[in-house]
C-alpha cells in the first residue's frame, strides 16, 4: 500500500467519524430524559458527592461525573458501544496510515512529499509590493516532510490514546456522541493544519481547531462559566488571528506566494538579506505571524483563555490544551523557520516573550488550589519554553520539547482526570490527600509524569528541557539572562508539581467523608492509556539525547530527522564548536540540581511541615494574593478592554447614536416642522392673501358701482335720461 499517495486519507478518517456522529449519533446514543443529566453542574447538590463544598472558592468543576455514587446512571443503549468503536477507531486508522506514510517517507532519499489534491482558490492576479505581477491561489495540498511527520504522529497517536480514555471518562455524560463528534472534528482540523502545504490551508485548520476548542470548552453549555470560557478562548484567539491574517497578506505582498516550499525557496535563495539591524518588512511579517502564534499557543499577553479553558472535560484539556492545539503556534513558527532565521530581532522578541510567559505562568501555578489550574499554567509555562527555544534558533529542540511535552502533559491531565473521577468530581487539592494507596495506578503514572516534567534525568522532560536551557545559554541569539529565567522556571516547575503530588497523594487525607467512601480506581479504558503514556514519557526522551553524551546516532535521531526541515544542519554544526563541553556539563548539573532542590523543598513544605506554607501565606499575604489572583491580568483586561473599550466604547457610541444620529433625525423632523410652519405662513399670508386680495380688489372696484344699485326704479329711470343726454351730447359734438 502506497501510504505516501494516500496522505489525503489521514485527515479524512476523523472527518468521516465526525460526520457519522452528526448523522447517526443521536440514533446510537439517544439521550433519555434525566433530571440530573439535563443540567450537569448548574445545581451541584447531592449527586456530585461533595455536597458541602460550596464555601470554597474554586471556579471550575469537572461536572461530568454525576453518577458515580452508583444510585444514578442513565441506561445507555447498546449501540453506544458503536460510538466507542467508531470514533477512536477512526483516529487509530489515521495513526496507522500516518505511521505507514512516515515510514515510507524515511525510505525516500529526499524526505519531502508534496501532493496537491486540487486548487481551492484559483489564481487571482495581483501586484506585489515590488510591482511584479503574481497570482494568489490556495490549493488543497498536503506536505509531508520531517516536521509534519512528527506532528501527525503526535496528533494521531496521543489523540487515539485520549479518545480511548474519553470513552471511559465521558461514559456517564449526556452528549456522548456530540463529544466524540467534536473530538473527531478537532483531529481532522488539526491534521489539516499540520499537513497543509501553504499558509492559507494552515489557516483553515487553525480556525477549525479554534472552533472545536470553543465547542469543546463550552461542552457543558448549561453552565454559564463554560460558555463564557468558550467565548473567551475564541475571542482572545481572534485577536491573534488578526495578526496572522495580516502577516499572510504582507507575505503575499512581499513574496507573492503562500506555499511553504516556494516561500522557503525564496527566503533561502539569498534574495533577501538578513535583517540584523532593526525591523524590516520581513520582521514585520514574522512578528505578525508570531502574534497569531501567541494567541493560539497562549503566550503573554494572550494566554488568559487557557486556564479558563479548564471548564471543558478533562480529555479536552489533555488533547487540545496540552498536546495538540496549543502547539499549533509552535508548529507554525517552526514551519516559518526560514523567515525567523532571517530576522534576528523578531527571534529575540519570540524568545523574550516565551521566557517571560514561562516564568509568569510558573509563579501563578505555585499557589493555585485547583488541580487542573496548576496543570493549565504549567502548560502555558512549558509553551513558553518552546517559544524560547524557537527564539534562540533551536528549532528542532522546540519541536522535541513539543513531542515530549505532549506525552507527559497529556499523561498529567489524564491522571488528574482519573483523580477527579475517583473523587467524584472534587478538584480542589486542599480536600485531597492520602490517595496514594487508594488509586495506585493513577498515582504511579502521575508520579512518572511529574518526574518527567520536573526534568529528572532519564525521563523525557529532562532531555528536552535541558537542551532548551543549553541552547538559551549558548546560542548566538540566546543570553545568560534567558538561561537564568529558564532555570528559575524549571525550579518552580519542580516545586509546584511536587506540591501537587504531595497535596493529592501523600500525607494525611483531608478528603470529605462522603467522598472518601466512593474513591475507586478508574476503569481499564482510562488506566490503559495512562500506562501507555507513562511509557512514552519515559522512553520518548531518548530520541534526543545530547551529543555530549555520545550515545550514538540512534539516540540523537530527532535532530537529524528534523534537520532537512530547518536547513540548519550547517548552522548547528557551526554552533556546536563554540562552547566548551565542560560548560554544558556544568549547566546540565545546575538544572538537575535545581530540579532536585525544588522537589525536596516541596516535600518538606507539604509533607513534613504543612504549617510552613500556611505561615508563608499569611505573612506574605500581598504577594500570595498577587500570585493567587494571576497577577490581576484578567482584571486589567476586564478594565481596559471589556469595560474600557467594550462598555466605554458602547457608551461613546450610544451617545453618538443618541446625540448625533438621533439628533440628526430629530433635527430633520424639526426642520420639516419648521418648513411646514413656513409653508403654512406662506399659504396663509401670500397665497390665500393673493386670493383674498383679489376678491377684496374686485369688491373695492365694485363699491362705486354698487352704490348705483339703489333698488329704486326711479333711479334707474334717471340713468336712462342721463343716457339720452349722453346721446344728445354725442350728436351735438359731432
Amino acid at each position: 500500500m502506497d501510504f505516501l499517495n494516500l496522505i489525503w486519507l489521514i485527515p479524512l478518517f476523523p472527518l468521516a467519524g465526525a460526520a457519522s456522529m452528526l448523522f447517526f449519533g443521536k440514533l446510537l446514543d439517544p439521550q433519555p430524559p434525566s433530571t440530573v443529566a439535563v443540567a450537569p453542574g448548574v445545581e451541584p447538590v447531592y449527586e456530585h458527592g461533595h455536597g458541602g463544598h460550596h464555601a470554597h472558592a474554586h471556579a471550575t468543576h469537572d461536572h461530568g461525573h454525576s453518577g458515580h455514587d452508583g444510585h444514578e446512571h442513565h441506561h445507555s443503549s447498546p449501540l453506544k458501544a458503536l460510538i466507542k468503536i467508531i470514533c477512536p477507531g477512526m483516529v487509530l486508522l489515521s495513526f496507522l496510515f500516518s505511521a505507514g506514510a512516515v515510514w515510507q517517507l524515511s525510505q525516500q532519499p529526499e524526505r519531502v512529499k508534496q501532493i496537491v489534491q486540487f486548487t481551492w482558490i484559483a489564481g487571482l492576479p495581483f501586484h506585489m509590493a515590488n510591482g511584479h505581477l503574481a497570482t494568489f491561489s490556495i490549493d488543497w495540498g498536503f506536505l509531508l516532510d520531517p516536521l509534519s511527520s512528527v506532528m501527525i504522529l503526535v496528533v494521531t497517536g496521543i489523540g487515539f490514546l485520549i479518545h480511548v480514555y474519553a470513552t471511559g471518562y465521558m461514559d456517564h455524560d449526556t452528549g456522548f456522541y456530540r463529544f466524540f463528534g467534536y473530538f473527531n472534528l478537532f483531529i481532522f482540523f488539526m491534521l489539516m493544519l499540520v499537513l497543509a502545504n501553504n499558509y492559507g490551508l494552515l489557516f483553515v485548520g487553525w480556525e477549525g481547531v479554534g472552533l472545536c476548542s470553543y465547542l469543546l470548552i463550552g461542552f457543558y453549555f448549561h453552565k454559564k462559566s463554560a460558555g463564557d470560557a468558550g467565548k473567551k478562548a475564541f475571542i482572545v484567539n481572534r485577536v491573534g488571528d488578526a495578526g496572522f491574517v495580516l502577516g499572510m497578506l504582507l507575505m503575499l505582498s512581499v513574496l507573492g506566494t503562500l506555499r511553504f516550499t516556494s516561500v522557503n525557496a525564496l527566503l533561502r535563495s539569498g534574495q533577501f538579506a538578513p535583517e540584523t539591524a532593526g525591523f524590516g518588512v520581513l520582521s514585520a511579517i514574522a512578528l505578525l505571524l508570531f502574534i497569531g502564534a501567541t494567541g493560539k499557543s497562549a503566550q503573554f499577553p494572550l494566554y488568559v483563555w487557557l486556564p479558563d479553558a479548564m471548564e471543558g472535560p478533562t480529555p479536552v484539556s489533555a488533547l487540545i490544551h496540552a498536546a495538540t492545539m496549543v502547539t499549533a503556534g509552535v508548529y507554525m513558527v517552526a514551519r516559518s523557520a526560514a523567515l525567523f532565521q532571517l530576522t534576528p530581532s523578531t527571534s529575540t522578541v519570540v524568545a523574550t516573550v516565551g521566557a517571560f510567559t514561562a516564568i509568569l505562568a510558573a509563579t501563578i501555578a505555585l499557589v493555585q488550589n485547583d488541580i487542573k489550574r496548576v496543570l493549565a499554567y504549567s502548560t502555558v509555562s512549558q509553551l513558553g519554553y518552546m517559544f524560547l527555544a524557537l527564539g534562540v534558533g533551536a528549532y528542532w529542540v522546540a519541536v522535541f520539547h513539543l513531542f515530549t511535552h505532549a506525552f507527559f502533559k497529556a499523561l498529567l491531565f489524564l491522571c488528574s482526570g482519573s483523580v477527579i473521577h475517583a473523587m467524584g468530581g472534587e478538584q480542589d487539592m486542599r480536600y485531597m490527600g492520602g490517595l496514594k494507596n487508594k488509586i495506585p495506578i493513577t498515582h504511579w503514572t502521575m508520579w512518572i509524569g511529574s518526574v518527567a516534567i520536573a526534568g529528572i534525568p532519564g525521563l523525557a522532560g529532562f532531555f528536552s528541557k535541558d537542551e532548551i536551557l543549553w541552547q538559551a545559554y549558548s546560542s548566538p541569539q540566546g543570553s545568560k539572562l534567558l538561561w537564568a529565567i529558564g532555570l528559575a522556571t524549571a525550579a518552580m516547575t519542580a516545586f509546584y508539581m511536587w506540591r501537587l503530588m504531595n497535596l493529592t497523594f501523600y500525607g494525611k487525607s483531608r478528603v470529605q467523608p462522603e467522598v472518601a467512601a466512593h474513591i475507586h480506581e478508574s476503569p481499564a479504558a482510562m488506566t490503559a492509556p495512562l500506562m501507555l503514556l507513562g511509557a512514552g514519557s519515559v522512553f520518548a526522551g531518548w530520541l534526543g539525547t545530547p551529543r555530549l553524551w555520545n550515545l550514538g546516532e540512534n539516540f540523537h535521531a530527532f535532530e537529524t530527522w528534523l534537520a532537512p526541515s530547518f536547513a540548519s544542519a550547517a548552522v548547528e554544526a557551526a554552533k556546536e564548536g563554540e562552547h566548551a563541553a565542560s560548560t554544558e556539563w556544568i549547566l546540565m548539573g545546575f538544572s538537575v540540581a535545581i530540579a532536585i532542590i525544588g522537589i525536596a523543598v516541596a516535600r518538606w513544605f507539604y509533607h513534613h511541615k504543612p504549617e510552613i506554607p500556611d505561615t508563608l501565606e499569611t505573612q506574605l499575604k500581598p504577594l500570595h494574593g498577587l500570585l493567587y489572583n494571576k497577577w490581576y491580568v484578567d482584571e486589567i483586561y476586564d478594565f481596559l478592554f471589556v469595560n474600557g473599550l467594550g462598555k466605554g466604547g458602547g457608551r461613546v457610541l450610544g451617545e453618538f447614536d443618541r446625540k448625533i444620529v438621533d439628533g440628526g433625525v430629530n433635527g430633520a423632523g424639526w426642520l420639516t416642522r419648521a418648513g411646514a410652519r413656513a409653508s403654512m405662513w406662506w399659504d396663509t399670508w401670500i397665497v390665500d392673501g393673493a386670493v383674498r386680495f383679489s376678491s377684496f380688489f374686485i369688491k373695492m372696484l365694485s363699491y362705486p358701482v354698487c352704490i348705483l344699485q339703489t333698488g329704486r326704479v326711479q333711479a334707474y329711470a334717471f340713468f336712462v335720461v342721463i343716457g339720452a343726454l349722453a346721446f344728445f351730447g354725442y350728436y351735438l359734438a359731432h
Binding site: 326711479q714 334717471f718 335720461v721
Partner: protein
C-alpha cells in the same frame, strides 16, 4: 286762424293737465287732470285730421285706461300715501337733467326748423277719396297685418298677465 287758436287752446289743456297730473297730492285729482290732458291730446289729433285716432283716443285711453286707473286708485287705499312726502329727495337732480335734455331738444328743433317744411306738392297727388278711417283700416289690414296680429297677441298676454298679477291667490 282758427287752427292757431284751437291749437293753443288744446295745447294749454294738454300741458296744464300734464303739469297738474304730476303735482297733485291726491291721486284722484291727478287722474282727473290726466283725463283733461288726454282730452286735449284728442283735440290735437282732430286738428291734425286724424279723426279715427281722435275716436280711439277718447274711447280707449280715457274710457278704458283712465277708468282702470280710477278703479285701481279706489282699490288701493291711497289715503296714507297722500299724507306722505310726495316728491323724492333727488327731485332737483331729475329736474336739472330733464331741463338739460329739454335744452338739447330745443336746440335741435331750433337748428333744424327749416327741415320741417315739407313739399305741398304731395297734397295734390294721391288725394284719396277715402276717408281717414278707411285709409287707416286699409293700411292696418294689408300692409301692417302682421304687427296687428302680434299686437292682438300682446293684448291677450296683457290680459292674462294683469289677471294673474291682481289675483289674491294664484
Amino acid at each position: 286762424m282758427l287752427d292757431t287758436v284751437l291749437f293753443y287752446i288744446f295745447a294749454l289743456l294738454v300741458l296744464g293737465g300734464g303739469i297738474l297730473t304730476i303735482t297733485r297730492r291726491n291721486a284722484v285729482h291727478s287722474a282727473i287732470s290726466l283725463i283733461v290732458s288726454l282730452l286735449g291730446v284728442a283735440g290735437l289729433y282732430l286738428t291734425l285730421s286724424a279723426e279715427f285716432l281722435f275716436a280711439v283716443q277718447i274711447v280707449l285711453y280715457v274710457g278704458g285706461i283712465m277708468v282702470l286707473f280710477l278703479f285701481v286708485i279706489m282699490l288701493v287705499n291711497l289715503d296714507q300715501a297722500a299724507k306722505e312726502r310726495q316728491f323724492n329727495r333727488q327731485w332737483w337732480v331729475a329736474l336739472a337733467a330733464v331741463l338739460a335734455v329739454g335744452g338739447a331738444i330745443g336746440y335741435f328743433l331750433y337748428r333744424g326748423k327749416d327741415a320741417f317744411h315739407f313739399a305741398e306738392a304731395a297734397a295734390g297727388q294721391a288725394a284719396s277719396v277715402l276717408g281717414n278711417t278707411e285709409q287707416v283700416a286699409d293700411s292696418l289690414f294689408t300692409e301692417y297685418l302682421l304687427p296687428f296680429e302680434i299686437a292682438s297677441v300682446l293684448l291677450l298676454v296683457a290680459v292674462v298677465g294683469s289677471v294673474v298679477m291682481a289675483k289674491k291667490r294664484i
